[in-house]
Amino acid sequence: MPMIPKLAYRNLFHDRLSLIVTLVGIVFSVVLVAVQFGIYLGSENRIAAMLDQAKGDLWVVALGTKSFDDPSLLSGRERHAVLSTPGVASVEELAVGFVNWRKSKGGSTAALLVGSEITRGSALPWNVTQGSASALIAPSAVAIDSTYFGELGIGKLGDRAEINNMEVVVKAVTTGIRSFTTLPYVFTTLSTARTLLAASPDQSSYTLVNVAPGASIETVRAALANRLPDAEILTHAEFRKRSLDYWLFETGAGAALIAGAALGIIVGIVIVAQTLYASTKDHLNEFATLRALGASAGYINKVILMQAVLSALIGYLLGMVLSLVVIWASQDSTLLIVMTPGLAGMLFGLTVGMCVLAAMCAIFKVIRIDPAVVFSR
């Protein structure tokens, strides 16, 4: 093994207690940042789940719509306006609205009803694990997610409830479709939704437009904007970004998560800087000797940086294991924590960067070292 990593490794493991304190700091930081960013990504997934799942190049939405979970009914002439626009391949309407869900055993709760064109092969709902999406074609049939059974007073497939004083029956059950707002999604057909929402037979909340192969999305969008001045025409990416911005930043939820992650990074830097500085002070005589023997400042800096990187590697591995345990433990909870290869990679870079930044204090201490002290001991 080359001498720099060897010396760094030996210095690091020489004082086990100091190493443990360093690693606790790094692990704490990694887990905190992983969980905070994991929740952030989980929130993104939940906020954008409907948009990502529904197939649509363009979304016709009511003016001022902030997100998918902020629906308003459109005028009702959108379908024909869209279908008569050159370059449009297909269209699907979604009737979405807040409803009052009354449980069969008493009590009620708010829910978000999502009516889709199931008869035409809509992508909503998905992850159907009991019953089937086609079963929703039956009158007053709805689908709910199994995680909302308790909240909606449902025990099994076939149980009944009331939406806006109209009886519905659960004909399908999905898994893992939770909303960011915590309001349960209730899926049904477009026509049933219109009935339950007291909308006219032509009205919908969103009109999804799929552009024909070869047609320009921007051209179609411009044509639609011209034809539907009372609505907004958004691309999938625009609507997704608008939804994320609203829920994560306008409500402050995302800022809180990012602040939590930043706090984790700061705490990590402080703890690592403190312990690395203390370790460097403990080994100051050795660094002075190295300097006296002719070690360049770069050589000594490399030893300290290597100590920081080794700490980062060990801390990152332990932190990731712990983070994955936390994620695994939370998989059945209402909290969605997501770990992606990208997040893992970012955490690795962040951990190494954090430790290298923390090493700067130690390096500043060492570069001021006077090698002449080797003669005074």
């Binding site: 030996r10 020489h14 023997l293 003669f375």
Partner: protein, 247 residues
């Protein structure tokens, strides 16, 4: 004495002034020193005479306030801290009173560290370090950490470390001060042996008169000035010197 007549280190009119609020302190007041290849020179003097400051300057650790220094023919004037470090790395080996071995490394690794600094390849370093330890009679203790070595053994490792990479000058700061008589003699004998190599000069700063018998030359420093120079009498037993210059 086997000196080759080659000057490995040449210091001329070295002065050092430390400026402070309480007034200037001048530990060196125009010192001339020549270290010849193949010779062991003893630098002696009372405490506060400027020995350590002179050693720091000769070892390119401190810069003189005025005067010139050449190590292995290379002038130090104008060198910055990194340039001085480079010169130390390539041409100066140190033996310290407190050994200054890295406690987390074994004896072999301590020597390998010096070789690594001097640019030895990863494949050559263990062999060269072993060779250096063998030269000081410690190859059998190569894998022992400094905490398990005796004082004499530590100093021999320190000498092996100084020898590794074959520097032109070896500077030893009170190498026997922390050792008992027997180990002190062994260490001095080793340094005297090292000094026989006509490619290097050895300077030993000492106040230990037991070391006299190992010196080829002796320089006495008092109050920042060279008080006397003496050369070991060729026909005499070790320890007797002929005065060649007195202040």
């Amino acid at each position: 004495m086997t000196h080759s007549g080659i000057t490995m280190l040449e210091a001329r009119d070295i002065t050092k002034v430390y400026r402070s609020g309480a007034g200037d302190v001048m530990p060196l007041k125009g010192v001339n020193v020549d270290l010849m290849a193949g010779e062991l020179t003893l630098l002696m003097g009372p405490s506060g005479s400027g020995k350590t400051t002179l050693l720091s300057i000769l070892g390119c650790i401190l810069s003189p306030t005025s005067g010139s220094l050449r190590v292995a023919g290379i002038p130090t004037k104008g060198l910055n801290a990194e340039g001085m470090a480079d010169l130390r790395r390539k041409h100066v080996g140190f033996v310290f009173q407190a050994y200054n071995l890295v406690p987390t490394l074994t004896a072999l690794e301590n020597v390998m560290l010096a070789l690594d600094l001097r640019g030895a390849s990863l494949s050559d370093a263990p062999y060269l370090a072993w060779e250096a330890l063998d030269a000081v009679g410690l190859s059998h203790r190569a894998h022992v950490s400094p905490s398990k070595l005796s004082g004499g053994e530590k100093q021999r490792v320190s000498i092996a470390r100084a020898l590794a990479g074959s520097p032109s000058v070896i500077l030893a700061d009170e190498p026997t001060a922390a050792l008992d008589s027997e180990n002190g003699k062994a260490v001095m004998a080793l340094l005297a042996e090292v000094a026989k190599d006509t490619r290097r000069a050895v300077l030993v700063v000492t106040h230990d008169h037991r070391t006299l018998e190992y010196g080829d030359r002796m320089i006495r420093i008092e109050d920042g000035r060279i008080a006397s120079r003496a050369r070991r009498r060729p026909t005499s037993a070790r320890g007797e010197f002929d005065l060649i210059e007195a202040a």
